[in-house]
């Protein structure tokens, strides 16, 4: 039977607890958000002992369902003050599921300056002193665990940014090669882990067993149907493996929605050198790897291995959001420099979106000029050294912009916007404004129908259809995030009914009872209602579901549009949900 691992950092105790009946069929975001809403006082300080960090594999994680290796992390966010869920690929979620762990709940706080490692195996879990790891980046932290505990482990860790309890701090998750390249990036969850004195979680699945579906035949039938849908879709079967996520750079730029120089233009003249096409060619020429899986059992394989001019490993990807954040958004067109920034972000444990957005605000403030790649790398070095300027960079765009008296700060609820300008892609603006997470593209990826002709077409420059599109995507996304499936399966789900049938059949096989599409979507609705309930208790209202004013007053070239979805329409997104 799966258990919850209760880790108390105040008295340094660890205990296994049978999971409460109401959580029994939950996983991923559905479980982390439910536990945070039930156990974290809404008004607590996010870095206090009262906040809890919850980590959970998805419902299907570890079962052998394709692309089901997501690790969900939840807490009250130090960046947004809202409930927060951020999920990541990598191997740790699968290994936790094999260890029989449905969730880890970390509570309390140790004596200041003390650091610990949590070591999890199928039969045991222990807290160990880890002061020797203090001050290390994620790469060194993980390497030392590998040397000590062997090759089967995976790690969940924080770098210097998490230790400094910075608003942009991420939680790193190791990939198949045990590199800390995958991150629960958004919302400063690394700072919550840092506030608990927890430097690293080492998971060794040796001797454990995969979760076994109740009805193996039904489960296998679902796996086959789902696999066929993923492999048969031109995006999940061909486009993403070959070109990766950064193939988006050219299409979003051509659509006029590629935020450039801190959201002051919708197109970047230097897009081609940092495009997915160029990235593909550079990787192949240098002997890197395309079509790389970030966890075992991923058939999409959108990750890649980026090597330097000498063929030495530099970083993964980098992903579209990272290339944009450190590239176009900073006026930088040097892919190698961006890859180095990605490596530094991963090592420091920083959300690449928040960090790139903050550097762009710093450029607008005149700290360094737009286009200054060497200067941007120096700012990240300041983070490593923990200087006042470095700490400001690691605090996120909102804090940095306010400190320097900047008006154009592209955040919602304190979290920086990702790589789509809501003036050119109005549907994603609806999601940015209304998401329970602050500005977050993954929460309801309206870019699909607005730009990519996936799941139908909705005109990106008009208001019609945007609210319904964002609502439906937010519900479906939350359901997918609960299963542990990678959100990229949604491209197939939106175009091919067989993909959703496959998911429902896998869930039916897993639970041994029929799960309909309505049951599946109910998972999403229920979790969104839980998250909104928490945010309301914190004090968030409809007045917070808004974009910064400049999106309504500054026209964005080339369409010369402002954000035109009305406040009244935004307030309809969650009508009937909570």
């Amino acid at each position: 039977m799966a258990t919850i691992l209760r880790v108390n950092m105040s008295d340094l105790s660890v205990r296994r607890e049978d999971i409460d009946a109401r959580y029994q069929e939950l996983g991923g975001r559905g479980l982390t958000s439910a536990l945070v809403a039930d156990e974290v006082p809404p008004h607590c300080h996010p870095l206090s002992a009262a906040n809890r960090l919850v980590l959970a594999p998805g419902i299907l994680t570890g079962t052998g369902a394709p692309c089901s290796g997501r690790l969900s992390a939840g807490a009250k966010s130090p960046l947004t003050g809202t409930i927060k869920e951020a999920n990541s690929g990598g191997m740790a979620a699968i290994d936790l599921a094999i260890c029989g762990i449905q969730a880890i709940v970390v509570e309390g706080r140790p004596a200041a300056g003390k650091w610990y490692r949590l070591r999890v195996t199928p039969g045991d879990a222990v807290l160990e002193p880890a002061d020797d790891l203090a001050g290390l980046g994620n790469y060194d932290t993980v390497a030392r665990q590998g040397e000590r505990f062997g090759g089967k482990i995976s790690c969940i860790s924080i770098g210097q940014a998490g230790e400094m309890r910075s608003g942009a701090a991420s939680i790193a998750v190791t990939d198949v090669e045990r590199r800390p390249t995958r991150h629960c990036g958004r919302g400063g969850l690394g700072a919550v882990m840092g506030s608990k004195g927890l430097k690293v979680i080492v998971v060794d699945p040796t001797g454990g067993q995969r979760p076994r579906p109740a009805d193996m035949a039904a489960f296998r039938q679902g796996v086959q149907k789902f696999n066929e849908a993923l492999l048969g879709h031109p995006l999940t079967g061909e486009g993403l493996p070959k070109y990766g996520t950064n193939s988006l750079a050219n299409v979003i730029n051509a659509a006029g929605g590629y935020p450039t120089r801190n959201f002051s233009d919708g197109q970047f003249e230097g897009v081609e050198p940092i495009s997915g096409e160029r990235q593909h060619d550079v990787i192949v020429e240098r002997g890197g790897e395309i079509a790389h899986a970030c966890h075992r059992g991923c058939t999409i394989r959108c990750s890649r291995t980026y090597v330097d001019e000498h063929g030495e490993f530099l970083t993964k990807g980098p992903e579209y959001e990272t290339v944009w954040a450190h590239g176009a958004n900073c006026g930088i067109d040097d892919l190698d420099a961006i890859a180095r920034m990605d490596r530094m972000d991963d090592d420091l444990g920083l959300d690449t979106i928040e960090t790139g957005a903050t550097i762009a605000v710093a450029m607008e403030a005149g700290v360094i000029p737009f286009g200054d790649a060497a200067g941007a790398l120096r700012l990240l070095e300041e983070v490593r050294r923990g200087t006042p300027l470095g700490r400001l960079i690691a605090s996120g765009a909102e804090v940095f912009g306010r400190t320097y008296g900047i008006e154009r700060i592209p955040t919602v609820k304190g979290q920086a916007m990702p790589a789509y300008d809501p003036r050119a892609i109005q549907g994603i603006g609806v999601t940015y404004a209304t998401s329970t997470m602050g500005a977050d593209h993954t929460a309801g990826y309206a870019v699909t129908a607005n730009v990519l002709s996936v799941g139908g077409q909705v005109d990106p420059l008009r208001t019609e259809g945007q609210v319904e599109l964002s609502r439906n995507l937010q519900i479906a996304t939350t359901a997918i995030d609960t299963t542990g499936l990678c959100l990229f399966v949604a491209f197939a789900v939106l175009d091919n009914p067989a993909a959703l049938e496959g998911i429902c059949e896998m869930l039916s096989g897993h639970f041994g009872r029929l799960i309909s599409a309505d049951d599946f979507l109910a998972l999403g609705r229920q979790t969104l209602a839980t998250e909104r309930g928490f945010n309301k208790a914190v004090g968030y209202t409809a007045a917070h579901d808004r974009l910064p004013d400049f999106f309504r007053t500054e026209k964005l070239p080339p369409h010369n549009m402002t954000f035109v979805v009305s406040d009244e329409e935004l307030d309809q997104v969650f009508a009937g949900i909570g």
Partner: protein
């Protein structure tokens, strides 16, 4: 003669000899589909079409002077 600037991406570049951009002469009544045919780009491979940065259908008539962007299936995020 007025021209149409055609930009192609990702796998569609195999049909332009690797070129990222090509220029075609404008012709009366010429549609996006006709431009695809002239360039030998299969219509079923062309998932996204922009004319002057706005989504367009293959039957869109081009007058000349436009920028056309052609994509196969693209996504990520």
């Amino acid at each position: 003669m007025s021209k149409v600037q055609v930009y192609v991406y990702a796998d569609l570049r195999q049909f332009t000899g690797g070129a990222a951009a090509v220029e075609v002469d404008a012709e009366p009544g010429q549609t996006v589909a006709a431009v695809l045919a002239r360039l030998g780009i299969p219509r079923e491979r062309t998932k996204i079409v922009f004319v002057n940065h706005r989504a367009a259908q293959p039957d869109r008539v081009l007058k000349g002077g436009e920028r056309v962007d052609l994509f196969s299936a693209i996504g990520g995020g």
